[in-house]
Symmetry: C2
Subunit: 352 residues, 2 copies
């Protein structure tokens, strides 16, 4: 509890740090497992200030070039509709993993923090036991103006916590937006939490998310819901058989657990280990990480380029004029696009 408070205080204070260390000092401290320097470095990654950004880039470049970021970590994305019990689940899984002596980092991507500037894992205080462990490091979702920005920060934070020796990284997100795609593209394993019952909570989940899941787990399999949970897992088992096969060659598994009672967590972790063995054997693990790096590279270029374009005053003016005409079907989207592109001060070569 005291440690937990200290942790929270550290987060606050790092944002106010006056004298910054050098990239070399941060790198050394992180590799030695210094939590304060780790927290400060994450704050640099999350900061919008150019000098912080520059230092963060330097630090990450240093860690990567030194090979300080180990490749044998496991990055687990966790999602599920609101009410499925994600926080309790993450604490239960995290506690189990630390009980095995593993070092666990918990991160989050919460697109709603764009608006509210709040964040999931703001209820971190509820993860009291996990937060109190020397083996665990919990960091709330960064805030940001765009999902792309928020996701980028989290992806770089993964590198930092891995360099600090956290071998399992749990990344939480909510099942309602595009954040799943972002989390999916930075994790090795994607876990979808479900409720006992007939899949009603899928109402709140975006299409395509079920197909991303490597493991589905029906939580709250406890008390008088045990039977409902069994029905749900049969139901989802049948459903996942219908999905086209994943690139990983892994057939999605459906499990049951009760995060509250701590049951099923061991079996879940064993299945995760099986998944890891499977994708390491067939080399998908490494290939997937390469693909993800390539994707973020491209995505990051696209993001910056498009955002620069759409912020250009002439472009904005053209958009404002043309978009209603496109929506009303008064002009072809392609003809309108050409007109907008003409407003950008770069000669663009025509395709085809």
């Amino acid at each position: 509890m005291d440690r937990n408070r200290t942790l929270v205080r550290t987060f606050r204070h790092t944002t106010m740090a006056k004298a910054l260390n050098t990239a070399e000092e941060y790198a050394k401290g992180i590799r030695e497992g210094n939590r304060v320097l780790l927290g400060q470095a994450i704050t640099l990654v999350e900061s919008a200030r150019p000098e912080h950004q520059q230092l963060a880039n330097q630090l990450i470049g240093l860690l990567l070039s030194e090979g300080a970021v180990p490749s044998q970590t496991l990055r687990i994305g966790i999602t599920g509709a609101p009410g499925v019990g994600k926080s309790t689940f993450i604490e239960a899984l995290g506690n189990y993993l630390t009980s095995l002596g593993k070092r666990v980092a918990v991160l989050a991507i919460d697109p709603s923090s764009q608006i509210s500037k709040g964040s999931i894992l703001g209820d971190k205080t509820r993860m009291e036991q996990l937060a109190a462990s020397d083996l665990a490091f919990i960091r709330p979702s960064p805030a940001g103006n765009s999902l792309g920005g928020v996701a980028r920060k989290t992806r770089e934070t993964i590198l930092l916590v891995e360099a600090a020796g956290y071998e399992i990284v749990l990344i939480e997100t909510v099942g309602v937006g595009q954040s799943e795609t972002a989390v999916h593209s930075m994790t090795d394993l994607f876990l979808l939490l479900l409720l006992p019952g007939a899949g009603d909570e899928l109402q709140g989940i975006k299409r395509g998310i079920v197909e991303m899941a490597d493991i589905l787990c029906v939580n709250k399999a406890e008390g008088d819901r045990v039977q409902l949970a069994k029905q749900a897992s049969v139901y989802y088992s049948n459903a996942t058989h219908l999905l086209p096969p994943a690139q990983s060659g892994w057939a999605p598994q459906v499990l049951r657990c009760s995060a509250q009672e701590g049951t099923g967590i061991k079996e879940l972790w064993e299945t995760m280990e099986k998944f890891r063995a499977h994708v390491q054997d067939n080399n998908f693990f490494a290939e997937n990480r390469r693909q993800q790096a390539a994707w973020w590279f491209q995505e990051s270029i696209r993001d910056s380029l498009l955002s620069a374009f759409f912020q250009h005053p002439e472009v904005r003016q053209q958009l404002q004029y043309l978009e209603p005409l496109v929506l009303q079907g008064k002009i072809s989207p392609f003809a309108a696009a050409e007109q907008v592109l003409g407003a950008f001060p770069v000669r663009l070569n025509k395709e085809d």
Copy 2:
């Protein structure tokens, strides 16, 4: 048969047309249902020559501003794994629709035509009966260097055939690439054809396509496959219940037919009519078309901008140098992206 040959000959000849008509002449001819002028206009849309493009843009602009493109047409996307019998199915559905007195256009998007310069519906000669009907207009997939280019041409062709009075547009594609997303984003109704059996053909279908389908139809429900087809439709019915609800509020329907024997086609069309009534009642039909126009507008801007960027010599040089480092994890994708962006001759404002 003779008519069919004439049609094929027309396609060939239009590409060699010497004297072009004016946009006004094309518009008038198309509105009057002149098939030769319609074919020539589509050739203009498909042409890479700037003067053809310009004339095509003018023509489409004219048709849109005159309100010549009716909004009450129905655009149906049709996909399915190779071997599912798409051509036979389209002929059966087309024949049924023309027997009701409806005017039907058949278009296609075939990404493989990028490589082979061939096209699906190249087997159009197999649709002999439909091709011979005055009420039907069949056009093979355009060729092109990119899916985006091919899709754009087809989307503009839809406007032309609708202006020519074809009230139902069937757009065929193969279930193996990204072309489904393109077809999905230009149609009102998406139909997935399936084979009797336990879904093995889904092996050949890209993830996410099942979720796009408004109607699933098990084809080849004939002879000793009737029972297997029944099993398959139960199987898919269960599966689609598990999908998160579509934006349209329509629950996907699973039907059976035999295109060869012509059974189930009437029921399928009735279900399509039900779908249309549903989405017209809840206003999704119009809203979806607006969203699609907005999507193509954005997508077209993105496409051109990104393709201009990635063709820039300095950018290509940087990419060639940095991409291997990104894949090897030696540099952060974000830092690499910044370096590439620096090579582009436009000052880009930083995001966040």
